[in-house]
């Protein structure tokens, strides 16, 4: 698979959010949607923009890695 790093990034991220959602559901007995929203949504007026930026950097980096791998494969095939 060519987009493996990006795929893994998305898979692990979604699964991790799933894990913390399950634990919150167990502890707080709130509706699922409320907990998912709280875990994913960006709270304005806080410094959470920093971690969202880092997440974006991680995502862009993984795309960059996949692009580089694909490019290297193409070059090696053509040569």
């Amino acid at each position: 698979m060519i987009i493996l790093v990006t795929f893994m990034f998305c898979l692990i991220f979604c699964a991790s959010i799933g894990v913390i959602t399950v634990f919150d559901l167990y502890l707080y007995n709130q509706p699922l949607l409320t907990i998912v929203k709280a875990n994913v949504s960006f709270q304005r007026g806080t410094s959470q923009w920093m971690i969202y930026s880092v997440l974006l950097v991680g995502f862009c980096y993984s795309i960059g890695v996949d692009y580089r791998v694909r490019k290297n494969k193409k070059t090696s095939k053509s040569s």
Partner: protein, 370 residues
Amino acid sequence: MKNILVEKLSLWQLFILIFIFEIGSAAVVSTGNDAKQDAWIALGVAMIFGLGIGLFFHFLLSRAPGKNLFEIFQLCLGKWMGGALIIMYILYFIYIASRVLRDFCELITSFIFEQTPVEFVAITMVVVIIYMLYLGIEVMGRTSEIFIPYFFSFIIIIGIAVFISGEMEFTNLLPILGEGIKPVVKAVFPQLLTFPFGELIAFTLIIPYTSEFKKSKKIILLAVFASGLILIYNAILQIATLGVQMRARSNFPLLSSAREISLLEFIERVDLIVVFIVMYGIIIKVGVFFYGALKGLELLSKRPYRMHVVPLGAIITFLSVKISDNFAEHIEEGLIVVPMFLHIPFQFILPLLILPILLWKTKKSKEGRE
């Protein structure tokens, strides 16, 4: 698999990594509170079980020489079932790394940088860990070699300094086993057994890369024993200085104890020494769990783990903040959910379930060779 570097750790580096890893966050947050003034006894008992846990993990690895835990899963369960189990372990390692990171962030923002957001502390720490892991586990081992004298001597010095300051009240440790053995047992099972000793499971991904695997058994035992002694020393220091009630109420008892130090009315506020101990402990602990998750991704994606370092670091940073809204929630999750639903299955149940399959498979292959 291409461009995958084979890294080797010396036995001394392995010893240091296990030693710092075990002390890591266990020295910061109060452990064994259920045993009250007998917390040090509970730690001693847990240390003995910890030696057994270390032996068990080593035995598991010795059945399939050169293979790490994830490779053993694939050997026993095949590509798909093994792969599913590996993903579960990756999630476990990431979750625990995020929790450990959050411990440190809370300590820093509560005591040292009160105006600094948790997010900023988490990002700076992860950047350091990403850099370290990008250069390889060997670099982490070598860095630990440099810092171990400071790490060790600072822990000892804190105890001596509190004692000289006259803040220690050894009667706080009495009565010994006043309420019988029950509180000790309650503290050991499952809390102390899983944290910090059961967390040695992360080393099943590092031990196969030591230069001399055969000798690593002794090193594991020595490291667990040494770290257990330091944890007992810490518990005695905290109980004698703060008393049982204060220790239980304090979020970071070692820091609270260190704040009592006052030598010659001149040497005071030595919090930074504790912060150094904690910071390095956390770097190693997060680094080892992070490395475990990376090795899993390397095996699944068949790409060098370095490609995944930055993306996974970003996820750990994000989770460390999102894992809970405040410190009370963080501790509640750590006491209720994590030991029962994560630590026990991933540290004991799953490896124990794998063991008979591994024994059968390795026996079969041995017979085939003969």
